[in-house]
């Protein structure tokens, strides 16, 4: 694939820089996915030391009564563990569960209002990794004395680990273990239902901007869901999540799922079929283009991600999963 080759060419000259940058440090690792210190045991007495998804060692001094969530998925995890009432700050993008609408917004338009976070005096801040919340802001909040856990899952298993990590941090290990167990049960049911069925090549369209096609990245969280739901994900570059049209035609999807159609009514199966070059694909000639109205559930790594998984399985194997 062209982007990967280019990236390989790019690596050697940058190696020296990157080595220097990493020598003592990392901001957030895409492969981190380190779970809680001992997620399966009941939370130890505070102060509690946990390792977050960015590999940072975070000390939580006391059972947090005031929690700030800087990402909608984190909010959903906290609420699913029964701690919704402890939230004192969320993002303006938060929409689930409905009661978080009453909580103050400390992230507006994607940028963190540090003053509002400080005014909320949280005892725990749940951030998002991979620069969704800039490392500089995480460093700043940390230096102000707030414990910041950064979450960034790359697979469904990572989501389980994140839920257990939050459960440990807020002293709800049992609720977290039960939630994960119920999610695993449903995910296994999906896996069992599609076992033995033919695995179609699935292309999940995240978006198309200025001619660049964005999809699930290699080894990404969305790709892992498609695999479990009984499909072979056609992935883009691991970092940019983009795929070139000729690579997509070459991969020849048998099913096209339109995640972007959930937000943009102008994206329809008809429009996609009429795009230049797309007519070559098996999915287009057989009419296998499906609108994914549940895109939010597929792309938001919280407790409802199993709903997204089931929606994916229904789209990939209609009739096999209810």
């Amino acid at each position: 694939m062209v982007p990967t080759r280019l990236r390989a060419l790019l690596l050697p000259p940058l190696l020296a820089l990157a080595v220097a940058a990493c020598a003592s440090a990392s901001s957030s690792s895409p492969v981190a996915s380190l779970p809680a210190v001992s997620p399966t045991e009941p939370a130890a007495a505070y102060p509690l030391t946990l390792i977050d998804d960015a590999g940072r060692r975070v000390v939580i001094p006391a059972d947090p009564e005031r929690i700030v969530s800087l990402a909608p998925s984190n909010t959903e995890i906290v609420c699913a563990l029964g701690a919704c009432g402890q939230l004192v700050g969320v993002t303006d993008f938060d929409d689930y569960p409905a009661q978080v609408a009453d909580v103050a917004d400390v992230v507006i338009g994607g940028s963190v209002d540090v003053e509002q976070v400080v005014a909320a005096q949280p005892q725990l801040i749940l951030a998002a990794g991979n620069e969704l919340i800039p490392t500089t802001i995480i460093d700043q909040l940390t230096s102000l004395g707030f414990p910041v856990l950064s979450l960034y899952p790359n697979s469904l298993d990572d989501v389980y680990d994140d839920i257990l990590l939050v459960g440990a941090a807020i002293h709800e290990p049992t609720a977290a273990a039960e939630l994960v167990a119920s999610m695993q049960l449903r995910a296994e049911a999906v896996g069992a239902a599609v076992t033995g069925a033919e695995r179609p090549r699935v292309f999940y369209e995240v978006g198309l901007f200025e001619g660049t096609i964005y999809t699930a990245g290699e080894d990404s969280f969305i790709a892992s869901l498609i695999t479990i739901a009984g499909g072979e994900p056609i992935t883009g570059d691991a970092v940019s999540t983009a795929i070139q049209l000729e690579d997509l035609i070459d991969a020849d999807p048998q099913l096209i799922l339109l995640g972007d159609a959930a937000y943009d009514a102008s994206v329809t199966p008809g429009v996609v079929a009429a795009r230049v070059g797309w007519g070559e694909m098996t999915a287009v000639s057989t009419g296998q283009i499906v609108v994914m109205l549940d895109d939010l559930l597929v792309t938001r790594p919280g407790p409802r991600v199993v709903d997204g998984l089931e929606a994916l399985a229904r789209a990939i194997h209609p009739g096999l999963v209810d």
């Binding site: 790019l10 990157a18 990493c22 440090a25 338009g109 509002q116 970092v239």
Partner: protein, 368 residues
């Protein structure tokens, strides 16, 4: 001296009048002090002016607090706003000073602090740092994200900015001389290569594009005491060493030849001035990203108002650049955290246009 200055003799050889000096520098100091108080007292969380002054008096002067504050108020004033306002002042003052120096040194009105490679080099450094964990995941070795408490991004931006100018200077040098035009063109070419590298990295940056974009636009949002402790000494040293070189800058304005006749060691001074201004710029870029406009326009505005004598121009650019960026950042904060560069350009550029037209109508102002 006051009497002489009223004559029509060339300003280049005669200092500005004491009155004008007092008005310009006194006004600048007053503006800066006002900006400091207002910018610390106002923010997205309402803290009363009485509480603000009480916190400052308590933490800076050791006075008893003597009142009960709302939770977080002390931290917001002293650990969030004050370092941010002081950072804005250091950055604004540093950029305006470096811009003044580069415009004189390169005898080019379009020169800004970034012109010979600082911005492109610092950007490449910062972007590489932001993407390092993706590019070389195997090298990510656990916790912590700082060198000496500074973020890797800051360190890489500093090194990138400084390194690219050293490279430009080395390439431009021939037979012990560095012609200004060669320096400008080399700076442009090297910047292009570095910018292409940065753009290539950005193309593969995926979800990190937002963070990279935010850095490129320039932001004071993550200002901390720690960053100030790194930047303040470097800026103080480079600032003082630049201001005391006002006479040599005045001479260089005449051209390399005339400056040499006036007894200036031209090549040595050019190297020293370039490196000092680059040190100031790289330091500033490391803690704020690339904030535009201030370094280009503040020197021009002041030159229109005070004339081209660097004895007054250099200290004035520090004061007014500092006050301007502190107030612009206040505007940026109140507008919901938009990049400060947008505010400086949106409000500053029309003001500059107005000043430019006015000065051309009245014939005032000298070399802008």
């Amino acid at each position: 001296m006051r009497a002489v200055a009223t004559a029509t003799s060339p300003r280049i050889s005669i200092g500005p009048s004491l009155t004008r000096t007092a008005i310009v520098l006194g006004g600048g100091a007053l503006l800066l002090a006002t900006a400091l108080v207002v910018a610390v007292a106002v923010g997205s969380v309402g803290v009363g002016i009485g509480d603000t002054l009480a916190v400052l008096g308590h933490r800076l002067l050791g006075l008893p607090l003597g009142r009960t504050l709302s939770p977080g108020a002390e931290q917001i004033i002293f650990d969030v706003r004050l370092p941010r306002v002081l950072t804005a002042m250091l950055v604004g003052g540093g950029l305006a000073l470096a811009g003044t120096v580069f415009q004189a040194l390169l005898r080019n009105p379009m020169a800004d602090p970034y012109i010979i490679g600082t911005a492109a080099g610092a950007s490449l450094g910062a972007i590489a740092a932001l993407m390092a964990p993706i590019l070389v995941p195997a090298l990510v070795i656990g916790s912590g994200s700082s060198w000496l408490g500074l973020g890797v991004v800051q360190v890489m931006a500093f090194v990138g900015g400084l390194g690219s100018v050293l490279l430009v200077y080395a390439i431009s040098r021939a037979n012990g001389r560095v012609p200004v035009v060669t320096l400008l063109l080399t700076g442009y070419a090297v910047s292009s290569v570095l910018a292409a590298g940065a753009a290539l990295l950005m193309f593969f940056s995926g979800q990190r594009l937002g963070a990279i974009f935010g850095w490129l636009m320039g932001s004071l949002a993550s200002a901390r005491w720690l960053n100030l402790a790194f930047a303040a000494p470097l800026l103080a040293v480079s600032g003082i060493l630049l201001v005391v070189r006002w006479g040599r800058l005045n001479a260089l304005l005449l051209g390399d030849g005339p400056a040499a006749h006036l007894g200036v060691d031209v090549e040595r001074e050019k190297l020293v001035l370039t490196m000092l201004a680059t040190l100031a710029t790289s330091t500033v870029v490391a803690i704020s990203g690339t904030i535009g406009f201030v370094g280009l326009v503040v020197p021009h505005v002041l030159r229109l108002a005070t004339g081209p004598d660097h004895r007054l121009l250099l200290p004035a650019s520090i004061l007014y650049g500092a006050a301007l960026l502190a107030l612009a950042d206040l505007g940026a904060r109140l507008a919901g955290g938009i990049p400060v560069g947008i505010v400086t350009a949106l409000l500053g550029a029309p003001f500059f246009l107005w000043l430019l037209r006015r000065s051309r109508r009245t014939g005032a102002g000298a070399s802008a």
